[in-house]
C-alpha cells in the first residue's frame, strides 16, 4: 500500500516537472538587459523656420529590454526619458522647452514608451509596436529597430546594442506651441542604446 502511494507521488512530481520544463526553458530564452545611460543616446531634430535643423538630446533616461532570440514575439521594451533633462545647448531654450509651451515637465516629468508587440523583419531588423506617452497623451507608435551587435564591456558584462530612428508629429501629443511660428510639427528621433545583461 505504502509502495503504491510512493509511486503515485513520484508520478505526480514527474508530471509537474514535465509541465514546468517548457516554461522554465522559455524563461531561459528570455534575457533581460538594462539600458546603460552612459553609452546610450536619445537625440532629436526639428526644422526651425523652415530653414535648418535644430538638434537636441535628453541626458537622463532608463529602460529595460527583454530579448528572446528564438522567439522575438516574446521580447519587450520599456523606455522612460526624464523630460527635464532636455539639452539643446542653450539654457534659455531648454528652460522654454521645459515650460508649458512644450513639454510641461512639472506636470509631466516623464516620456514613456512601452512595447505591445515585436516581430522580426529580417536578421537584424525588428518591428516594434508600442505606446508612446508624451505630455500625458498616449499614442500608438511603430518603429523599426536595428540590432547593432553584442559583446562584453570592460567589466566582463554581456552587452547588446540597438538603434532606431523614427519621426513623430509633436502636435499629436499636444505639443503644438510654435507650429505657426516656424518650428516644424515633425520631430525626428534617434535612440541608440547599449544595454547590460542582468
Amino acid at each position: 500500500m505504502r509502495q503504491v502511494r510512493k509511486n503515485r507521488w513520484l508520478a505526480y512530481c514527474g508530471g509537474l516537472a514535465l509541465l514546468i520544463a517548457p516554461i522554465a526553458s522559455a524563461n531561459a530564452q528570455r534575457v533581460t538587459y538594462r539600458v546603460d545611460p552612459v553609452h546610450s543616446f536619445v537625440i532629436f531634430r526639428v526644422k526651425h523656420m523652415n530653414t535648418a535643423y535644430a538638434y537636441g538630446r535628453f541626458n537622463s533616461f532608463s529602460g529595460t529590454i527583454v530579448v528572446d532570440e528564438k522567439n522575438p514575439a516574446n521580447s519587450s521594451v520599456e523606455f522612460e526619458i526624464d523630460a527635464n533633462s532636455i539639452d539643446t545647448g542653450n539654457s534659455q531654450r531648454d528652460d522654454h522647452l521645459r515650460s508649458p509651451d512644450f513639454f510641461n515637465v512639472r506636470q509631466y516629468p516623464k516620456i514613456r514608451f512601452k512595447s505591445t508587440s515585436i516581430r522580426r523583419i529580417n536578421a537584424n531588423t525588428f518591428e516594434v509596436r508600442g505606446d508612446l506617452t508624451i505630455r500625458g497623451t498616449t499614442r500608438p507608435l511603430t518603429v523599426r529597430v536595428t540590432y547593432v551587435g553584442k559583446g562584453r564591456n570592460p567589466r566582463g558584462q554581456e552587452i547588446i546594442g540597438f538603434e532606431t530612428t523614427f519621426t513623430i508629429k509633436r502636435s499629436q501629443f499636444g505639443v503644438s506651441y510654435g507650429l505657426n511660428g516656424g518650428l516644424a510639427d515633425e520631430v525626428r528621433v534617434t535612440i541608440a542604446v547599449e544595454a547590460i545583461r542582468q
Binding site: 515650460s99 508649458p100 510641461n104 512639472r106 506651441y177
Partner: protein, 290 residues
Amino acid sequence: MSVVLQAALTAGVPALFAGLIWLLGGYIAPLTRFRGLLSPVAVGGGYLLAHDFVHGRPPFPPTDATHWLFYFALTGIVLGWLAELPADYRWLWGAVTLLVLSWTMVLGFKPLIQSGYWMPVNGTQIIVILTVATWLLVVLVAPNGEQEQGAGLPFLLAALGGLSAGLIFYNKSASLGQLAGSLGAIMGIGVLIGWWRRTFRLGRGAVSLALILMALLWAMAYGYAELPAHSLALLYLAGFSLALTRLKPFMRLHPMARFLLRFALLLALVGIPLWLSFQAYMATQSEYPY
C-alpha cells in the same frame, strides 16, 4: 504665418471682439443691466479667442493643467453676470466665485502634487493661499469697475496685463505671456472706448473676470513656468493697488492724481521685477529669441 502676424492676431482679434461687444453695449446704453451682462462676454469671449489662437481648443478634460483657464473663462462669464447682481444678492456672487475659484485652483495645481513637484502639504498650502489671494483681489477691485468711468481703469488694467505679459515671457512661458498680453490688449481697446465715451464703465463683471484670468495666468506661470514667488507676490500687490482709491484718504485726491498714483505704484511693483527679469535674461547673453 509669420511670428509677428500671429502675435498681432492673438492680441488684435480678441481686442476687436471685446471692442465690438462694448460698442454694442454703448448703443443700448439705457439698458444698463444688459450692458453689464455684455461686458463679461467681451472679456471672456476675447480670452477664449486668444486661447484658441495660442493653443487651439483644448480637449475636455484638458491633459495640460494650464488649459483649465479656457474652461474657466467660459464659466467666468457666468460669474461676471453674477457680479452684476443688485447689492442685496451680491453675496451670492462672492460665494460662487470662491467655490469656482477653489475648484479651478485644485484642478489647475493638483497635477503638480501628483507629479511630485510639490509636496502634498506645501502644495495644499500654496493652493489655499493662491485661492484666497485671488478671491480677495477680485472682491476688492471689482467695485472699481462700477464706480470708475472713462479710460483710467481700462488703462491701468491694460498696463497690468501688458507688464505681467512681459514678466511671464521673461520667466520662460511665451504662451502664458501671450495670453496675459491678450488680456492687456482687450483692456487696451477699453482705453480707446473710454477716451471716446467718457461715461464708459467696464462694469463689475468684466473687471472681476479680467482680474481672475490675469491672476490665474500669474499663478500658472509660478506653478508651471519659472515665475519667482516674489514676482508673483508683486503682481498680486499691483492688482490690489487698483483698489486704493476706495480708501478715504485717496478719495479726496483729484481724479488725475488718483490715476497717476496708481499707475506709479503699478510701474514700481511690476516694472521693477520686469526690469530685473529682463536684465537676467540679457545677462545670459543668449541669442535665443523664443
